[in-house]
């Protein structure tokens, strides 16, 4: 890992241990450093704790020990809604929109975080960014297709103009063509200056848009490197890119 100055680090975890049950840590001592503007990819086999790690950062999973730092503040004990106000936005894998509300209401709910006078303007910005959402804004979110729903979830997260956007497997369950669109959107959002942390199973496509990748295995960081070269790594190849069976995991 290339040493970076603290000022450039926008999100970090220090020896983070977390999990749903007190006696069952899933994330086991992860040190993460995300630099401003970068696109970080989190990889790992099923059950490696990637999802739990990002949920912990979002405030949804209890922290057993360690710390979560964001923009110079310690978020470890902060409730989820304040992390959002602090500029840390999270898009869960499932149940990521309010299905009983319209698209517009979904965005209104998220915009409540902003000062009253900025709400309408910010929603208009997002409609400009995602014209499909503007067209369908009176539709209940429960009626949207998988891709549209994902788009709404991302738009909802972007309402607060976050410094860091974290996404948990946004491509899960989507058709390949739609996945391409989602990834293109993410790339554009990152290019506009939003630091992005992405959990993905769709390894090849994700490595193509990320700057750096981290491989988690059994709740610990196993590998870390440049996204372009990591694709050539033997362990990564064994875990993901080679044959379908995963000897390293199967032996456990």
């Amino acid at each position: 890992m290339t040493p970076v100055s603290d000022a450039a680090i926008v999100l970090a975890t220090r020896a983070l241990v977390s999990g749903y049950e007190p006696d069952l840590p899933i994330v086991r001592g992860v040190d993460l450093q995300v630099t401003k503007g970068e696109f970080l990819l989190l990889l790992g086999p099923n059950g490696a704790g990637k999802s739990t790690l990002v949920k912990t950062i979002a405030g949804l999973v209890p922290v057993h020990s360690g710390a979560i730092l964001h923009d110079g503040a310690d978020l470890t004990a902060m409730p989820p809604h304040l992390r959002v106000r602090h500029g840390l936005a999270f898009v869960p894998q499932t149940e990521n929109v309010f299905t009983t509300m319209t698209i517009h209401e979904n965005l209104l709910v998220a915009a409540q975080v902003l000062p009253r006078e900025r709400r309408a303007g910010r929603i208009a910005d997002l409609y400009a960014m995602f014209p499909d959402l503007a067209r369908l804004k009176a539709l209940r979110a429960g009626q949207l297709s998988g891709g549209q729903r994902q788009m709404l979830a991302v738009a909802r997260a972007l309402i607060v103009e976050p410094s860091v956007l974290i996404l948990d497997e946004p491509s899960a369950g989507l058709a390949p063509k739609v996945v391409q669109d989602v990834f293109a959107n993410l790339k554009a959002i990152n290019a506009a200056g939003v630091t992005t942390v992405l959990v993905e199973q769709n390894v090849k496509a994700a490595l193509a848009i990320a700057d750096r990748a981290i491989v988690l295995v059994e709740g610990e960081v196993r590998l870390e490197g440049d996204a372009r070269t990591l694709g050539d790594d033997a362990v990564v190849a064994e875990l993901y890119l080679g044959s379908r069976h995963r000897p390293a995991e199967a032996r456990r």
């Binding site: 989820p80 992390r83 959002v84 869960p92 509300m101 709910v109 998220a110 909802r156």
Partner: protein, 303 residues
């Protein structure tokens, strides 16, 4: 059957509806049936009675009746204070009991059981403080006035109906048109997502307790004004409240009020046709029917 049955049923039903709104709101946000909700009605009535008596004492004697109503100025003033006090009581119970259980991730049924224990404690405390002797807001007697069409009502009854109507419309508009209403709907659908969408879930939960307990206080005072105040009144109303909340469809405010009116009317008709001793069975019969025929209620969404 006389038209009077209609009036009695509507008045009782409005009161049940207000209580049921509280149940349906706490249920849709907190996801459990609160068996202690009936006690908020009783506590509301007693708290208002205590404040009103205190005010009357300070003013040097009971206030003279306001206009056509049976009560003086102390009651409306005490009602405002009572709403605040009942809301505070609900917040205290939540902070001491439900909150810790919620944070621990306890199952729904543990919360139901805790509410059961809280109901027992709250009711017996009332009995200890005020004894089980019935009490009244006023000793003035009211004469029902003809309204035309054979319908008669006391001014108090008409006031209760009017107040219930205003409160239902207000709560409904608040839920559908305002930011706090949207937040409540968001938390009701998905509490985790609401948190990461920036909603302060704890604030929403507090708001729901305040609304639920405040409405319960109003319903309790209505019941006390039209009938009497007893420590058991909340327990006796609990089944009609649950029946109305389920009949109306959990989460639906207008549904809870309409269902409350249905339960009230059915009770009044039963008293007329079958006998007053069977009134308490009506809510159970309605409950069984709705669970058999349409468990999601009249206006509820399928689970």
């Amino acid at each position: 059957m006389t038209p009077q049955v209609l009036m009695d049923g509507l008045v009782a039903g409005a009161m049940i509806g207000l209580g049921a709104i509280g149940i349906t709101l706490t249920y849709s946000i907190l996801r459990f049936s609160n068996f202690a909700h009936g006690e908020f009605l009783s506590w509301g009535a007693y708290l208002v009675l205590a404040v009103a008596s205190g005010l009357g004492f300070l003013a040097g004697g009971p206030a003279s009746p306001l206009g056509p109503f049976s009560f003086g100025w102390t009651l409306p003033v005490a009602l405002v204070a009572g709403i605040a006090l009942t809301a505070a009581l609900a917040l205290v119970v939540d902070a001491l009991l439900f909150g810790p259980l919620r944070h621990r991730g306890s199952a729904v049924i543990i919360l139901v059981m805790a509410s059961f224990g809280a109901a027992l404690t709250l009711r017996s405390l009332l009995e200890f403080i005020f004894t089980s002797k019935p009490m009244y807001f006023t000793s003035a007697l009211q004469i029902a006035r003809p309204l035309g069409g054979g319908l008669r009502a006391t001014p108090d009854q008409l006031l209760a109906l009017g107040l219930a109507a205003i409160l239902v419309v207000a709560i409904h508009l608040l839920l559908t048109r305002t930011a706090i209403g949207r937040s409540m709907r968001a938390v009701s659908e998905n509490r985790q997502l609401a948190g990461i969408a920036g909603i302060d879930v704890r604030m929403v939960i507090r708001t729901v307790w305040i609304f639920g307990a405040g409405l319960a206080c109003v319903a309790g005072v209505m019941s006390g004004l039209l009938v009497q105040i007893r420590p058991q009144m909340g327990l006796d109303l609990l089944l009609p409240l649950f029946a109305a909340a389920i009949l109306g469809g959990i989460g639906s405010v207008p549904g809870a009020m309409i269902a409350g009116l249905i339960v009230g009317l059915a009770e009044a008709m039963t008293v007329q046709l079958v006998g007053a001793e069977w009134r308490a069975a009506v809510a159970f019969v309605i409950l069984v029917a709705i669970l058999l025929l349409r468990p999601r209620g009249l206006f509820g969404r399928p689970e």
